[in-house]
């Protein structure tokens, strides 16, 4: 817990230092909320907007986990603190996972705000069952966080050029059904899209937040399996990249 608290309090101190940046970030969220509000007044089919609203929420969630580790690695390398943070008695994987704690708290606040906006805009059309949402949120965080760890491993070793982030960042909105159902995709893409863990996860988010459907034990089990596989893959990739970077001797370079 000490290590999580260390990164959390450090990030609070950094955010306090860059108050203007924090203010801009908050105004960005406010602007996004305003856009949602006006679209909801303009559109005659609020149901589609609700569909896209949950898609955008999930997209933000996906982008957060995909980017948080590569961004942290790069930032620490740039600041020159990447090597000193590994001089602790903690395992390197624990260090990198804990480094996301400050940004995660900010992200959860952002998500809470978006959920509150969803409730305000769509009223009873927007369902939120915490009993269903929290476990789904945790399992999906572990799964996408695993992909983010793989992405961070590439940055640690190659410094620049991360194929995971490049491919997934560009194709996620197209293939996971953020703006439209994947059923409208050409069959070759549809088959691929339906196999992606993010597509099934987004379907569950929509089922939960729009129709109030709590995922079945089988659906939870599938998400848990994805979480296990992707987190294990992320942990393995990080450990392998960490050792290979130590062989190169440029852990702190960027």
């Amino acid at each position: 817990m000490n290590i999580i608290l260390a990164f959390l309090l450090r990030d609070v101190s950094i955010e306090k230092t860059y108050r203007f940046h924090l203010a801009l970030k908050l105004s960005g969220v406010a602007a996004q909320i305003a856009v949602f509000y006006f679209i909801s007044r303009f559109l005659e089919k609020p149901q589609y907007f609700l569909y896209v609203f949950v898609g955008i929420m999930f997209s933000g969630f996906f982008q957060f986990w995909l980017n948080v580790f590569p961004e942290n690695v790069r930032q620490e390398q740039y600041w020159g603190t990447f090597e000193p943070v590994f001089l602790s008695k903690n395992r390197p994987l624990a260090v990198i996972l804990s480094s996301a704690s400050g940004k995660f708290v900010l992200f959860v606040m952002e998500m809470t705000l978006l959920i509150a906006v969803g409730k305000f805009l769509f009223g009873s059309g927007f369902n939120l069952s915490l009993a269903g949402f929290i476990p789904l949120f945790v399992l999906n965080s572990l799964a996408v966080g695993g992909i983010g760890l793989i992405s961070g491993s590439f940055i640690m070793y190659f410094k620049r050029g991360d194929p995971v982030n490049w491919v997934l960042g560009a194709s996620f909105d197209l293939l996971s059904g953020v703006y439209f159902p994947v059923a409208v995709l050409p069959s070759i893409l549809k088959g691929f899209s339906q196999k992606l863990p993010t597509t099934s996860a987004l379907d569950l988010w929509r089922g939960l937040l729009i129709e109030g459907k709590i995922p079945s034990p089988h659906q939870f089990a599938v998400q848990a399996a994805w979480a296990l596989v992707l987190l294990a893959a992320g942990a393995w990739a990080f450990s392998a990249a960490f050792d290979k970077t130590r062989v190169k001797g440029d852990l702190g370079n960027y």
């Binding site: 000490n2 290590i3 608290l5 260390a6 990164f7 309090l9 450090r10 101190s13 950094i14 230092t17 860059y18 600041w79 020159g80 603190t81 090597e83 000193p84 943070v85 590994f86 001089l87 602790s88 008695k89 903690n90 395992r91 390197p92 260090v95 050792d243 130590r246 062989v247 190169k248 001797g249 852990l251 702190g252």
Partner: protein, 219 residues
Amino acid sequence: MSLKINELYKHFDLRGGRKAVLEGLDLQVEPGEIFALSGANGSGKTTLLKIIAALVLPTSGSVFSGGINVVDFPREARTGLVCDADSSFYRMLSVEENIRFFARLYGRPVDSAEKRTALLFDELGLNAHRKTTFAHLSSGMKQRLALARALLSEPRVLLIDEVSRSLDEESAANISSYIRNAVSKSDAACVAVTHDSSWAGKYADRAGVLVNGTIELIQ
């Protein structure tokens, strides 16, 4: 705890071919002892320190601290490294915020971390700079802060890379005397890289030069 390095090899695969940096290096440093290491630029001094700190993996060989092979990042190993003091802290945070972060990260309970920090800050003359942003510290104060961080966890092995670099004579003498006393009082084994041959004579117990990947002891 003693530091024992056996048959240490480090080769880097570079674009122009393989570069051998360490070639079967052996070294033993006893508790409370300072070993001063010099050598030409690029001879592998910093690489050696980073291997001992487990930040670089050797090609082969072992580094034992108190019977533990430290190259595998064991949680029991405690190594303090003073290196790149100018750029290894959060520039936007104060001295206090920086040291609190590293104290928590290095696993010291809050109470004991506060006591240890207070003691180190007092001894190193950092108290007046607690609220100063790291970016606004002088080079001397940055070195002192780096030393305070390295000593926070009461390390078994203390590694120092050119402590007197960019310091005036008086500051260099002050910090060097402090290191000498701190190592003598503790059971840490210390390896200090220096380009200043007189430094070794004044503050170290033994000295050596890194030449062709091995250490030649200076009598």
